[in-house]
C-alpha cells in the first residue's frame, strides 16, 4: 500500500476540487478505454473478421439472413424522419405466416426453418432493390417499401401475397398451401414513432387473422375495430398496473341453500373487481376479454387463488368452522397450465384453509377444450381434497357424457335458463333435466342468475339445491361475507 498523502487542500473551493477530481476520473476512464483499444488492435486479423461477423449478427437474423427486429427499427426510424422532413410516404407491412405452426408440428422444426428460408426467398424475389425485409421473430416478417403510396403498396403487397399463396411449400412429398396475414400501415409525416407504427401494423395483422387469415388489412386509425383493439391494449396496461399495485379486490356472492340435499355451511362464490387509483371500480366484463386475449388470465387466476386463501385464513377460526364452500373461478388457461397444480398446493400449504372448503369453478367449454390436461389437473386437485363446480352449464356442449370424466361436485345451471323459466317451457325443461341428471350423478345443483322471487320459488319447486343471483344476494366486498358468517348482517 502506498503512503496516504496529507489532506486538506484548503486553497481549493468545492467546485474547483470537484473539477480536479473529475479530471482525474476522466484521465482514468480515458486510460481504461485506450487500454481496451490497444488490446483490440493487438489481436489477430481473424479477430477483426470476427468483429465484423459479430456486427453482422447484431443486425441480421441468423436463420434467414434478413435484417433483425432491431435493425428494422433503425431503418423504420430513418423513414419516419424522412417523411417528416420532406413529406414523402412509405409503407410498412407486418406479415405473419398462417401455416407455420402446422408445418412445424407435423413435419418438425427443420421443416419449419426451411419454410422460413423459403418464404424469405419469395419475399426477396418479390421486393424491389430499395425495399427492406426483416424477420421480426418466430414466423413474423416486416417489410419496408420506401417512397411508396398506400395504393401502390396495397397493389404490390397483394401481388406478393398472391405469389406466396400460389406456390405450395413442399417438404418430403407433403405439400402445404402457405398463406399470410398481413397488416399494412402507411408511413407519413404524421407517423409518431417506431413503436407506434409497429403496434399499428401488428394490430392490422391481427385483424387480418381475425377476419379469416390469408389477407391484407390496411390500418385505419379511426376504424372501430382498431379502436376496440386499442381499447384492449389499454386494458392490458391497466391489468399489469393493477397486479403490480395490488389493486384487485375480492368480492363475493352468497349462494343460498334451497333443498334438503344442500350442505349446511356458508357457500359463496369469490368474484373479482379492479379498483382504479381514484377508487373507480371495474367488473370483470370490462377487462377479462383483454386478459384472455393477451395471456394475463394465468396471473389473474393466481392472484385470486393466493389472496383468497390468505383472506380466508386471516379470519377467526369460527369463520372457517362456519364455511361450507368457497368457490373460486378458474380460467381455461389455468386448466392447461402444468405449473398451476404446484402453485395451488403451495398457496394452500402456506395458507392452510381446509381443501374441502374450496371449490374451483370451471366452465364446461374450458374443461372440454383441455379435457386431457384439465382432467389430470382436476384429479390431482381432487386427490388433495379440493372440489369442483361446472359453471354456466347448458351454454356449451351440454353433454353429460364427459361429466363422468371429470370429478365435479356441483352443476351450476346457466342463468339464462333460470330467467326465462316462467315463459319458456323449453328453458324450464332444460333446468329440470339438468337438475335431474345432476342428482342421478350424485352432484348438487345451483341455479345461477336468480333475479326474482318467482325464479327462486320455481327452483325450490324443481328441487334445485342452491340459488345464486342478485335477488338472493347481490355481490359485495368479501368482508361482507364474514359478517354473514357472524350472523350480524
Amino acid at each position: 500500500m502506498t503512503p496516504t498523502p496529507p489532506t486538506a487542500p484548503d486553497a481549493l473551493d468545492a467546485t474547483e476540487l470537484d473539477n480536479a477530481i473529475l479530471r482525474n476520473l476522466l484521465a482514468e476512464t480515458t486510460r481504461a478505454y485506450e487500454e481496451q483499444i490497444r488490446a483490440l488492435a493487438a489481436e489477430k486479423e481473424d479477430q477483426r473478421l470476427l468483429a465484423l461477423q459479430l456486427a453482422h449478427q447484431a443486425t441480421h437474423d441468423e436463420l434467414t439472413g434478413l435484417l433483425n427486429r432491431r435493425a428494422f427499427g433503425t431503418h423504420l426510424q430513418r423513414m419516419i424522419e424522412e417523411s417528416r422532413r420532406d413529406g414523402s410516404t412509405h409503407a410498412l407491412c407486418y406479415l405473419d405466416l398462417d401455416q407455420f405452426k402446422l408445418v412445424n408440428e407435423t413435419c418438425g422444426h427443420l421443416a419449419g426453418d426451411e419454410l422460413l428460408r423459403w418464404v424469405t426467398g419469395l419475399l426477396q424475389d418479390g421486393l424491389g432493390e430499395e425495399d427492406l425485409a426483416a424477420r421480426l421473430g418466430g414466423d413474423e416478417f416486416g417489410l419496408l417499401l420506401p417512397r411508396c403510396s398506400l395504393a401502390e403498396a396495397e397493389r404490390r403487397i397483394a401481388s406478393l401475397h398472391q405469389e406466396l399463396q400460389g406456390s405450395p411449400y413442399v417438404w418430403q412429398e407433403k405439400s402445404f398451401a402457405v398463406g399470410a396475414s398481413i397488416g399494412l400501415v402507411p408511413i407519413t409525416r404524421r407517423g409518431k414513432s417506431v413503436a407506434h407504427l409497429l403496434a399499428a401494423a401488428d394490430r392490422a395483422c391481427y385483424l387480418a387473422k381475425e377476419k379469416g387469415r390469408s389477407r391484407v388489412q390496411v390500418y385505419q386509425e379511426d376504424d372501430a375495430e382498431f379502436v376496440r383493439r386499442q381499447d384492449e391494449m389499454n386494458w392490458v396496461v391497466r391489468i399489469h398496473q393493477t397486479l403490480q399495485e395490488n389493486r384487485f379486490r375480492l368480492f363475493s356472492q352468497e349462494i343460498r341453500p334451497l333443498s334438503a340435499r344442500a350442505g349446511q355451511g356458508l357457500y359463496f362464490e369469490v368474484l373479482l373487481r379492479m379498483i382504479e387509483e381514484d377508487g373507480r371500480l371495474h367488473l370483470p366484463s370490462d377487462f377479462i376479454r383483454a386478459a384472455e386475449r393477451y395471456g394475463l388470465m394465468r396471473s389473474i387466476d393466481r392472484w385470486v387463488v393466493r389472496h383468497c386463501a390468505e383472506a380466508l385464513l386471516a379470519q377467526p377460526e369460527t369463520f372457517l368452522d362456519s364455511l361450507g364452500t368457497c368457490a373460486i373461478n378458474l380460467s381455461a388457461v389455468s386448466l392447461g397450465d402444468e405449473t398451476f397444480l404446484d402453485y395451488v398446493l403451495e398457496q394452500f400449504t402456506r395458507f392452510p384453509v381446509p381443501a374441502g372448503k374450496i371449490c374451483f369453478e370451471i366452465t364446461e367449454t374450458a374443461a372440454i377444450e383441455n379435457l386431457d390436461q384439465a382432467g389430470r389437473l382436476l384429479e390431482s386437485l381432487s386427490a388433495a381434497g379440493f372440489r369442483f363446480a361446472l359453471d354456466d352449464f347448458g351454454t356449451g356442449m351440454s353433454s353429460y357424457s364427459y361429466l363422468k370424466e371429470i370429478p365435479v361436485s356441483f352443476l351450476k345451471i346457466d342463468g339464462k335458463f333460470i330467467q326465462d323459466m316462467a315463459t319458456d317451457p323449453l328453458d324450464r325443461a332444460m333446468v329440470e333435466s339438468i337438475n335431474q341428471v345432476g342428482h342421478v350423478m350424485g352432484l348438487q345443483t345451483v341455479g345461477e342468475g336468480v333475479a326474482s322471487g318467482a325464479a327462486f320459488e320455481r327452483l325450490r319447486t324443481l328441487g334445485v339445491d342452491y340459488a345464486q343471483g342478485n335477488w338472493v344476494s347481490p355481490p359485495g366486498p368479501l368482508e361482507e361475507v364474514y359478517a354473514v358468517a357472524a350472523g350480524v348482517r
Binding site: T2, T7, A20, I21, N24, I275, L281, P474, P475
Partner: protein
C-alpha cells in the same frame, strides 16, 4: 385522510402549539409521526405529546435535520394524521435487536407475516445500533413477489462519529435499539426513489470487502484507489466529505443491488479500510458516481408523483444533506411543489429503505425515498347486473 405538518420551535415543546395544530380538525390526531432532534429535550417532548394527545398513536425517531413541508429545520417536526373512514388506521410493530444480538428468527418471521399481510409499511430503524440492512436481507426471502411496499429510513445523529442519538421512539418510550414498522389499514402507499447521480468512472470489481468495510478494488488497496482520484496537486482532498459528491454506484452482479449507492463513512479508519454507511460484498461491480447540489435538486424537480397524495414522507440521506448544503431547502421545495400541497415531513437519514429497480428490497445510501400516502375511498355500491359475469 387529512394531514398537517408542524414545525416545532427550539427549546421545550409547547403544548399550546400542539393543541393549536389540531384545533382546526376538531379532534385529536389518530397518528402522530415525529422527527425530533437528538438532544436533552426529547424526553420532555414525548411527555408533552402524550399529555396533549394521549389516545393517539405516536411514534418517530431522532433526526438531526428534519423537514416540515417545504422548510428544513433542526428543532423537530411532527406530522399529524386523521383518518376519514371508520376501520381505517395504523398499527406499529416493534422489533428489537442489536448488531451483536440481532432479532431472532421468530421475530423476523412474525414481522414478515405482518408486512406481507398489510401489503406495505413504513420502517423506522435505530440508525446506530439496530442491524437494519441485515434485517432487510432476512425479510426479503420471506416474501413472495410482488414484495410488500416497504420504505423508510434510519434515525440520524448530531455527530456520526459518536454512538449518541439515532434512536426510535414509540408512544412515551425511547427504545434502546429497535426498528418500528408502521402498517396501515385503508391507505395506499406509493414509493418514489429519487437519485440524481451520474456514472463518472469505469466499472471495477471489489476484490475484498467485509460488512461495510472495503479493502481492495481490482486487487488494489481501496485507500490507494481512492487516493488516486481524490489527490489534487499532491494533496488528498478531505474525506469522507468530498466523497459525498462521488458516491460508489453498485452495478451488480446481484440484480437486487444494481442502482444502489454507498456513501463513504470513514477513510483509512480503521487503517487500510474505507468504510461506508451500507454493506459491500466481495465480487460487487462498482463505479464512482458524480453529482452536486444542482443535479440533486434538478432530479427532485423532475419528480412526477402521479395521483396527488394526502400526505408524503421523505427519507433523504445525510450524504445528500452534505452535498446540498444551503440548497437542502431547494430540493425539499421542489418535491413539495410536485405534491400539490400535500403535507410533507421527513428527515436526513443514516440510510434509506426502499424498493430496488428490480422490485426487490434495497438498503440505499445517498438516495431520497419519497413515500406517498393516500387514504383509499370507500368501495362504492355496485350497479346491479344480471347475470353476474364470471370471476
Amino acid at each position: 385522510m387529512r394531514s398537517r405538518t408542524v414545525s416545532l420551535p427550539s427549546g421545550p415543546c409547547p403544548e399550546g402549539t400542539l393543541r393549536a395544530a389540531a384545533t382546526a380538525e376538531g379532534r385529536d390526531p389518530d397518528l402522530v409521526l415525529g422527527f425530533l432532534p437528538p438532544d436533552e429535550q426529547l424526553p420532555g417532548t414525548l411527555r408533552t405529546l402524550a399529555a396533549t394527545w394521549p389516545e393517539s398513536l405516536r411514534f418517530g425517531c431522532e433526526a438531526d435535520t428534519q423537514f416540515a413541508d417545504a422548510a428544513v429545520t433542526r428543532s423537530g417536526s411532527l406530522q399529524l394524521f386523521w383518518f376519514e373512514l371508520p376501520g381505517h388506521g395504523a398499527t406499529v410493530e416493534v422489533v428489537c435487536g442489536t448488531r451483536d444480538e440481532p432479532p431472532d428468527e421468530a421475530a423476523v418471521a412474525a414481522l414478515a407475516r405482518g408486512l406481507a399481510q398489510a401489503g406495505g409499511a413504513l420502517l423506522l430503524a435505530d440508525g446506530v445500533r439496530f442491524p437494519a440492512e441485515d434485517l432487510l436481507g432476512r425479510l426479503a426471502p420471506c416474501f413472495s413477489r410482488p414484495l410488500p411496499r416497504l420504505a423508510g429510513g434510519l434515525a440520524s445523529q448530531r455527530d456520526p462519529r459518536t454512538s449518541e442519538g439515532g434512536r426510535v421512539f414509540y408512544q412515551d418510550e425511547v427504545l434502546p435499539a429497535a426498528c418500528l414498522a408502521l402498517t396501515f389499514r385503508g391507505v395506499s402507499l406509493r414509493i418514489k426513489v429519487v437519485r440524481g447521480w451520474d456514472p463518472a468512472s469505469p466499472v471495477y470489481t471489489v476484490t475484498r470487502a467485509a460488512g461495510t468495510a472495503l479493502y481492495e478494488i481490482n486487487g488494489e488497496p481501496a485507500v490507494d484507489w481512492y487516493a488516486r482520484f481524490f489527490t489534487v496537486d499532491g494533496t488528498l482532498a478531505p474525506l469522507p466529505e468530498t466523497a459525498f459528491r462521488f458516491p460508489l454506484i453498485l452495478e451488480g452482479p446481484a440484480a437486487e443491488r444494481q442502482g444502489v449507492y454507498r456513501t463513504m463513512r470513514s477513510f483509512d479508519d480503521p487503517k487500510g479500510a474505507v468504510t461506508f454507511w451500507g454493506s459491500l460484498h466481495t465480487g460487487d461491480r462498482v463505479r464512482l458516481g458524480m453529482g452536486n447540489q444542482v443535479s440533486l435538486v434538478r432530479t427532485a424537480a423532475d419528480l412526477s408523483p402521479g395521483t396527488p397524495p394526502d400526505a408524503a414522507i421523505l427519507y433523504s440521506c445525510i450524504g445528500r444533506e452534505a452535498v446540498l448544503g444551503t440548497m437542502a431547502g431547494d430540493e425539499l421545495a421542489a418535491i413539495q411543489g410536485a405534491l400539490g400541497g400535500a403535507s410533507l415531513s421527513g428527515f436526513f437519514t443514516n440510510g434509506e429503505i426502499g424498493p430496488s429497480d428490480r422490485g426487490g428490497l434495497a438498503f440505499y445510501n445517498q438516495t431520497a425515498i419519497l413515500v406517498l400516502l393516500r387514504e383509499l375511498p370507500e368501495i362504492p355500491e355496485l350497479p346491479k347486473r344480471s347475470p353476474e359475469p364470471r370471476l
